[in-house]
Amino acid sequence: MSRPDSAAPPVMDPPVRRAAPPPGPRPPHRVVLDAVAMAWRTLTRMRTALWLLFGLALQSAVATVVPQAPNVPGTVRAWLAGEEGPGAGVSGVLDALGAFDVYGSTIFLAFLLLLFLSLTACLVPRIRGWWRLVRRSQPPLLRAAAPDDVRAGVLVGGDRDAALAAAREVLSDRILGVARWRVRTAPDQVAAETGLWSREGGSLAFHLSFYALLAAIVLGQLTSFEGQRGVVEGEPGFVDAAVSYWTYDPGRWFPEDAHAGWRLDLASFEVDWIRDPLAPGAGQPTVFRSEVDVTRPDGTVERAVVEGNRPLVVDGRKIHQLDWGYAPRVVVRQGGEVVHDGWVPTLAGTGVFSGAVKAPAAEPDVGLELYLYPYAPDGPDGPRLTGAPWAEAPVLLAWQWRGDLQLGATQQTITELDVSRLDLEGAAWLRPGDVTAFGDVEVEFVELRRWVGFQVSRRPQVPGLLAASALLTLGLVTALYAYRRRIWVLAEPAPGGPDGTPRTLLTVVGRAFQRPDAAAEEHARLVDELARRTGGTRT
């Protein structure tokens, strides 16, 4: 058989038949070529694709158990230091294997690449075959019915040609201008087939959508931008420019001058909780809402609201609330001279917000480790720490360190103090307005406000992702629910009617390749329709 049978269903993993290799030793280049051909054949087999899929799943499973650096960098550092997890030794091995960043690891990307290669090699012949089917395929004529075929007879008046014409008519309905059945006529039968193109086409669309997804994701990585910045309520905000952001993560093709230059200020921020400890859901937040002022380059100011699920969109940039915390204003003086005066953003922990003051202007450096307890009313032994997050009786615990802050020398976030070269001088509880002194240094807790962390992002890939997802879903549903089936209407002359007019016996044979129950129902409907149109009787 030189050409594949166009009527045959596609075979995902066809058996490979090859001629026996010629006898004798092969030249070296043949060995290499054969090895490459062999590797290609192995890669493009469905079984290999399944194993690759399994490999991807296994790596994702690792990623659910091992903390991932892009998500929880702190936990990963703790694992590597041996403070958490299975110990520093095991963590070292995990790190070497890329287990702390599975989705960015070479192994994961290699598996993905191989899977896409395999998919491509599988799809190219399938698309060609599908195109050939759409253009040329004709349902085969029935030679012998199979045992599982459904069959029904209709006895109609008239000769064979008229009866077959009626059968053709029944099978001629159209959907959106496209004939539902592909019909072929022979002198003694009508053969019809449907479902093959849509089923295989759906499967192809489903698999092709992965290329669209991949393209959208890669292009998105290159052209998107994401920046984060904290703003204290009532204080000057920030301008959309590369230097303003605390974290700045542009794609490779995102130009720095693409920033629009609007300005964002936080007018007010509202957060609240279910405060009754006995109420259902006690402690859950109930409000998380920022009112912001957006000033455009032309000077127009616009009041807007940012809420959970309701980001603000400015010039195609989405602005989300990511985080919030208390921001005590702390002034540090040395010998009457101000060495630090600013709002200190603190991050929420369990019942406490922590932050740090770094005052390199002092001599030697002053570092303050700050712990803010928002609701700590006075008790008999000093502040009573309740752990509640609302700031009704805030108290600040300040630990003062002196020495070398090592700014720029070690990695430290703005809320962390590297105390390895610092000496502890003392600690004090401060209410708003309180001043305390450690040696020649004076620390004042002036006022308490809150800060909100905003994320500004531009993701041009989102429409592409949506389109790819739509293609994926449509293809999937079609591939799973369209089903291939054939109908044959066989005509044979029957004994004439009582008045001697000719009669024809139509036998309707249905064969399903998938979903036989649905096909059998459709077959019954078609038979009824045929009997109704021809005025025939079912036998």
Partner: protein
């Protein structure tokens, strides 16, 4: 009625009412099977009618529970593990029974109720009082995203049940299990081996000709089945042993779940000779999983859309996102396995079992063990 009264009512409707009705329906429907010979089901037996009435009453009580609970907390009951598992059971039972009706396979109804009872009990282990939701969750996005995924979970649960029953049935048929390929006698449903020959062998049903049910049952070694189910259940239930404090509570929970599953498996073995042909079961399992896969796909996409809206990124490999992806890949593996030479039949079915294990394990791990953005209301 006050919210507290509504909460009490919803609890009573769930347990004991729904739990008892499901259990009774499962017993009646399974007992009705033993009064029949082989796969042939005498229609309209009194026991079967009783079982169906009980099942319908159970579903009604379950729906009433969900409605009352929703009224008590003034939100859809889709917020914590108890509510999700309970709805998963409802979808599995109601959807499973409806599907069996369209496929005219009443002999499987008892097994569906048995599975529903197990899920209902599982949800009870995670019971939480009705309560409000965080404001970020009160959006139609959540309804859309979570209900699709919970529906998918329920459908996958039914699919797992049918897959497991298929594997039991294959043992009884004694088909060439080692070859890993099940050769059907008829294209009962689903995909006929595409392009491949359809064997005409008469291997399938020994039941009808040999009504010695006990001998058929003995083809499934009870000890091995119990041990296998115990170990298989442990691949999921270890999460409780790890997550719950103290360790004894966790181990007790793990053992409870394992023993309940072993008991259910032994019960299913007892009635396995009355199961439909292996290829019929395989087809039903495949169609069920296929539907669940569509729900899971759309639900996950909806989740990514909501994440872009709410967190400003559509995908971040959060534990639950990873779990959803993992489950999706596992079920994609099952669907592809069913169309692949060398995986078709039993091996594909085992992939399906593994996929459900993945679903349940990631569901529990992402809620109990790992804290991520998706961790909202405690459990």
């Amino acid at each position: 009625m006050t919210d507290a009264q509504l909460a009490d009512l919803s609890r009573v409707l769930y347990s004991p009412v729904t739990l008892a009705l499901y259990t009774a329906a499962a017993i009646a429907l399974l007992a009705a099977l033993s009064r029949t010979v082989g796969g042939e089901v005498a229609r309209g037996g009194a026991l079967r009618r009783l079982g169906r009435v009980l099942a319908a009453a159970g579903i009604a009580a379950h729906v009433a529970h969900e409605v009352v609970r929703g009224l008590a907390q003034d939100r859809l009951p889709l917020g914590n593990m108890f509510e999700v598992t309970s709805l998963m059971a409802l979808v599995g039972v109601a959807g499973g029974l409806w599907y069996l009706r369209t496929r005219r396979r009443p002999e499987l109804e008892g097994f569906v109720l048995l599975g529903g009872t197990l899920l209902l009990g599982l949800a009870l282990l995670m019971y939480a009082e009705p309560g409000p939701l965080m404001p970020i969750l009160t959006t139609w996005w959540r309804t859309f995203h979570v209900s699709l995924l919970v529906g998918g979970m329920g459908v996958f649960a039914a699919g797992f049940l049918f897959t497991a029953l298929y594997l039991l049935r294959v043992r009884i048929d004694g088909l060439d299990a080692d070859a890993g390929e099940h050769r059907g006698t008829s294209p009962a449903d689903a995909t006929v081996p595409e392009g491949g020959p359809v064997d005409g062998g008469g291997a399938a049903v020994a039941v009808r000709s040999a009504p010695d049910v006990a001998a058929l049952r003995r083809r499934i070694p009870a000890g091995r089945l119990a041990a296998g189910v115990f170990l298989g259940a442990s691949t999921v239930s270890w999460v409780w042993a790890v997550a719950l404090e103290p360790l004894s509570t966790g181990l007790a929970r793990m053992l409870t779940v394992n023993v309940a599953l072993v008991a259910a498996a032994l019960l299913a073995r007892w009635f396995a000779p009355h199961l439909p042909d292996a290829e019929v079961l395989d087809g039903i399992a495949h169609r069920t999983v296929a539907f669940g896969f569509v729900l899971w796909t759309v639900g996950t996409i909806a989740g990514a859309m909501w994440a872009e809206q709410s967190w400003g990124r559509f995908w971040g490999w959060d534990p639950k996102e990873t779990g959803a992806f993992l489950t999706w890949v596992a079920y994609a593996g099952y669907l592809h396995g069913r169309a692949t030479r060398g995986f078709r039949g039993e091996r594909a079915a085992w992939i399906g079992v593994g996929a459900f294990v993945t679903l349940m394990a990631t569901y529990l791990v992402a809620n109990y063990v790992i804290v991520g953005l998706h961790s909202y209301a405690g459990l």
